[in-house]
Amino acid sequence: MLAFSSIAAIILIFVFIGKEAWPLLHDSVIRKEVTLAKMWFAQQWPGYDAPEHVWQPVSEIPKYAAWPLVVGTLKVTLISMLVAVPLGVGAALFVSQYAGRRLREIVKPTVELLAGVPSVVLGFFALMVMATWLQQALGLDSRLNALVAGVALSFAIIPVVFTVSEEAFGAVPRSYVEASTALGAARWQTIVRVVIPAAGPGVAAGIALGLGRAVGETMIVLMASGNAAILSASPADSVRTVSATIAAELAEVVFGGAHYTVLFFLGVLLFGFTLATNLLGEFAIGRMRRRLGGMA
């Protein structure tokens, strides 16, 4: 029966996070303070000129707009993916196609080393060292911002993208490469037109898994993003992500109160999103296996 512990875990996670978020939908006391509509539509608050999205859960009139957090998460995630995907896929391509045995024996363990670095250490490095460098190099106003958090986050994503992509490139049958070479294609032509398309679903899976990790990663963004819930598109502004909001605020809320319920609701959103990206990644890997398996 222990064998079903993982299924039980998944179900229990869903049930018990959902249970704490459920009052948001039906509890009348909590719904006086916050509703789904109040979270997702701009509200006219006293002292503001126009309806706005504001996340200010600890104030005289608590405001729970989710958009600043969601946009913050997307911003940081996008930056991290823009760094991690070229580096991860590029390095994987290099290792599988160009690197000799000795070089491979250096790059692969180094990436594994990076994968083993706890995220709190990456957060520490971003906060103490990288933030200062980036601020000096780019002349930014705020030391901690979406850019610093995104770049630091990419360090956690690179190993995920690299490992899955490298495996995918390695799984392309030799016969494909040989056939392409026999037809007179140059090495780069073989790589671009044969190897990459064949490994495409695997690489996509790596990117999907990396995306799930980036959206859910907590300690790095908690430490390096500045944690200001500002709704803006600029990467130089401080941001507050969904995960960092839960981490920073849950310890100080009243159990069962409106704020508590909203934080668990944000947890349900995170859980649902990563579940979706994981299933997508799995689907892509399965498809690649079937495709390559069917042809061989």
């Binding site: 670095v117 300690m219 990644g281």
Partner: protein, 308 residues
Amino acid sequence: MKRRKPARRRRVGDAVLAVGTGLAAALVLLIVAVILGDVVYHGAPHMTLAFLTQAPREGMTAGGIFPAIFGTVALVVLMTLAVLPAGVATAIYLSEYANPGSRVTRLVRVAVNNLAGVPSIVFGLFGLGFFVQFVGAGIDSALYGGRRVFGQPALVWAALTMAVLTLPVVIVATEEALAAVPRELRLASAALGASRLQTIARVVLPQALPGILTGAILAISRGAGEVAPILFTGVAYYLPKLPTSLHDQFMQLGYHVYVLSTQSPDVDATRPILYATVLVLLLLTFALNATAVVVRSKMRRRFAGAAS
């Protein structure tokens, strides 16, 4: 003259792709080197025996990190006790008993893979909602007449939360180890009249032990480094004494790094301590990972020898 052009295009194309991907690889190496170099350079001078064995003093601007090391070790020991039986049982079911094509097997596999992708902060929410508020409060009302003993963040709940998080690590490693045990050994055992259970307990599991160990070590390394899952389930900012029972709170290395780097009253005074703490945490996780790699390669060699 006409024939030279495609040849040059070939060379240029190859050079662009090789240099481009090579640069990506070099950049990744550089990132790792800079991070590790910075931590070792600033952290090593302060990592003394006294630092490892003393408690923090003067608002954590002096003294050592012993309580955090102790808490981390206590956490991963309890976690391992919980995760190993569950993880190994799942792996045995998947590789020895389950029909690989069946719907149930596929479901278990999907669950394992998805569990691996759940964000660590969600595990923290789960630990608070399930272990602390449901199981813990349930124990309190049943055994302690509603007095708060287990119904609050505690070492045992943090360890169990971490066990759920590391479950996929143990399952995947154990399954791999079981799959690597040669079929001949199972057949030989069956031919001698051993039942399936006897074969698994006396032949397969001992052979797979190094692989299971690898999984346990990787899980410990992960559990020692994660912070988000324990934020609401038992970790404490500062405690004057070490945890002595399952329902005590505890200090932990990763959380200590977080606290020192974000909530220090005096950043300059804390910096050497902070760097040394990071170095200890890194050394701990790297040493565990390196051990796992060594054990795994030994296991592979053993089976490679047995097959030939």
